[in-house]
């Protein structure tokens, strides 16, 4: 294999893995921040216990996030030297901002957040907690700025193959960056809320099974009941936050889609498998499912099979029944995603949307149960199927995020810097394919080990449960 393909595999591999952890770090930091604020304002101990307990899992997500972030930062130099050399003036600058402005704040705050409970005043500790949240969020902001700029490189021009920045404001606040950051940040929070709720449901489900399995009524000590209540509380806090977050994500996601239609018509055509531009006076259909036929000799293609909603795509993207939507065949074959890439983005996009809707439905179901009084401890423990639903939902947010990133990155191909630089022009010179291959295998093995260990340790932390009796700071 050539080093271009290997470098792409390596980057895709490491990025897909890395994204999981900041997702949880940001979400957990927000949750802990909320809990600590509630503790300081109401003085109720239960909030303090929540903040302490979930911090244990936060530490793991943070450590793995940092660890898996190193290869990404280094790879820009090692594998994408030509891209880095050409875009360093802006792209490198932004990554420099990320480490200097965001990461320093986050790591220092983390030290105090984890080890400072009995060492600093409560208000300082809350500040540290906020420092972690703000640091992680700013970090995500700069990364999204850098990536959005790759999608819509505004405020710059190429000069002898090197980027020259004309307008920093335009480059940083390009048309994509704020919407993309919002979409990603909300995804972080949403995925984590379903993680916390799912973990809590898992604990309750185990209790429910235990109760159902024993012939005589189980006598539970107060400590045990307090522990179950702890997880039920966590479940409810998440549910409250979901009321805002899950519908918000549908709105922000829609905004994101509208932007793609406006700024990257090739990507839109690919993720909708829309081949031929609709003739004036007719509407472009929206396909729910589509299978493309083999590409013709000239590179053009079409669908062999499609389940279509007439005029759907025109209505969604142009808000008129016969608005023109450019099809894949109207772009030069070398300047747009190929058929395989289009199919990947098409299904990834549908998967993401479907999950977004499912999560809203799940939120509504939870609220309905709550409203009907079925979320009292003894009531919820006799409803294992309800709990099971939430355990199954744990991976959904993560899958949706990965799918969204696939649409975003694969849909941008063949460009590394949209319409300015091709991916094939960005790769390092004189890399060794065997060495790169070994690195990919090694890193993937390490990553698999890390995921397994994370699940193992998280399961243990959850099984051991919260410490409900230690001295308050």
């Amino acid at each position: 294999m050539d080093t271009l393909l290997l470098s792409r595999i390596q980057f895709g591999d490491t990025a897909a893995f890395h994204i999981l952890w900041p997702l949880m770090s940001i979400g957990l930091a927000l949750y802990m921040c909320g809990m600590e604020v509630m503790w300081l304002t109401t003085g109720r101990e239960q909030y303090y216990r929540q903040a302490r307990f979930w911090a244990k899992i936060f530490v793991l997500t943070f450590a793995i996030g940092v660890a898996s972030g190193f290869p990404l930062a280094f790879q820009f130099g090692t594998n994408w030297a030509a891209f880095s050399a050409a875009t360093g003036s802006f792209f490198g600058n932004i990554l420099g901002f990320e480490t200097t402005i965001a990461f320093t704040l986050e790591t220092v705050s983390l030290g105090i957040l984890i080890f400072g409970w009995h060492k600093v005043p409560r208000a300082v500790h809350l500040l540290a907690n906020m420092g972690v949240l703000v640091g992680a969020s700013i970090s995500a902001f700069w990364i999204m700025v850098a990536n959005s700029w790759m999608q819509s490189p505004q405020g710059v021009h190429l000069e002898k193959g090197i980027i020259a920045v004309d307008n920093y404001r335009a480059a940083i606040l390009n048309s994509e960056s704020l919407t993309s950051f919002a979409h990603m940040w909300v995804a972080c929070v949403e995925s984590t809320l379903f993680l916390i709720a799912g973990i809590s449901a898992w604990v309750l489900l185990r209790v429910a099974r235990l109760r159902a399995g024993s012939a005589i009524p189980v006598v539970e000590t107060d400590t045990l009941r307090a522990r179950h209540t702890f997880f039920l509380d966590a479940f409810k806090y998440c549910l409250v936050l979901m009321i805002i977050i899950t519908p918000l994500q549908l709105v922000v996601g829609d905004l994101s889609g509208v932007l793609v239609a406006r700024l990257q018509p090739e990507k839109l055509a690919a993720m909708e498998l829309h081949w031929d531009t609709n003739a004036p006076g007719t509407g472009a259909p929206w396909s729910a499912v589509a299978v493309p036929r083999a590409t013709s000799a000239d590179g053009t293609g079409g669908n062999a099979l499609a389940l279509e909603v007439p005029n759907g795509l025109s209505i969604i993207t142009t808000h008129s029944a016969d608005g023109t939507v450019a099809g894949l065949n109207s772009f030069a074959v070398d300047d747009r995603p190929n058929t395989a890439q289009a199919v990947l983005t098409f299904y990834a996009f549908r998967l993401m949307m479907l999950i977004g809707v499912v999560l809203v439905a799940l939120m509504l179901l939870g609220l309905w149960y709550w409203y009907r009084g079925k979320l009292a401890l003894d009531a919820v423990l006799v409803r294992p199927n309800f709990l099971r639903l939430w355990v199954w939902a744990i991976p959904l947010g993560f899958i949706a995020t990965e799918a969204g990133w696939m649409v975003r990155e694969i849909g941008r191909q063949p460009w590394i810097l949209y319409h300015l630089m091709r991916t094939s022009e960005g790769v390092s010179s004189n890399l060794s394919a065997p060495v790169t291959g070994v690195v990919i295998v090694a890193i993937t093995l390490v990553y698999l080990a890390l995921v397994s260990l994370f699940i193992y340790f998280t399961a243990r932390i959850v099984r051991d449960g919260p410490d409900l009796s230690s001295r308050l700071p």
Partner: protein, 332 residues
Amino acid sequence: MTATLLQNVWYVIICAELALYILLDGGNLGVGILSLLPQKEEERSRMLQILGPIWNANETWLLVAAGSLFGAFPLVYSIGLNALYVPGMVIVVGLIGRAVAFEFHVYTERKVWWSKIFGVSSVLVALGQGMALGGLLSGITIAGKQFAGSVWDFATPLTLLITVGILCSYLVLGYAYLIRVERYANEHESFGHLLRYAVLTFAALLLATIFLPQTNYLFFSRWSTPPAMYALWGIALAIVAVSLWVGWELWHKRHPERLYFLCLGLFVLGTAGMLVGTYPYMLPPTLTIADAASAPATQQFMLWGIGPLLPIILAYNWYLHRIFRNSFVEEK
């Protein structure tokens, strides 16, 4: 500001960030490495506890320096890492291992395992840094604005010497750090270890310094043409003097605090010597500060974005170190 001045300001900032990384995290990295040497597991756990609250923040300076380098001197970042792919990946694997092993160690019952992984990862980070520095000083082949050598170019005899020197010097810092922090239990042995590794460091890096001018004419002329030669010989003299002072303190086994700072001083002197020897080259023997710099507009923008924040960042780092000064934390 003129372009040249800006470039030099950024050069100094990045060197300062790297120096901060060595000063703050060098001891922590050293402790990680020496935790591998035979000792009781409780002792090892105590070592990790000392590092707990601070090491993450300390290690961040390496990333900060890398980030600044990417923005201010993109060619160094791209060509340098492209050429030093193998050392770079060794460092990455080490950093990954350190980050996760540290946290897993807290939760696991198999402490031995994870402290071993932490130790081995720390060794990898030190080795990778030695290999990278060795590869850099051995010279990087550049054609046009691209790396034109092979990924194995870094592997030279010089690199071997420098790698041994770097590894041993981190051990020196590690022992000095332990002796200082909490009147480390094995204090008496530590003085002996420290001395041994200090001698090894000195020998390896001295040999490397003698070797260096032979690999590259640039370095030879530095030792023989003013004004660089005055600075270099001055730094060499200072290193000898401070080394003797360290030896004196070790012999009398006292002043843990002073000992630690003397060792740090040696590190700073060595780094300064290297910088004087290579300035204005960033990737010897071809790429200079001016060649590698990004556009003045970028450097200026970055300076405005980051410059005012640096004092604030230093302030909260200082606060963190003050809270956890000389303490080791039982609870997590």
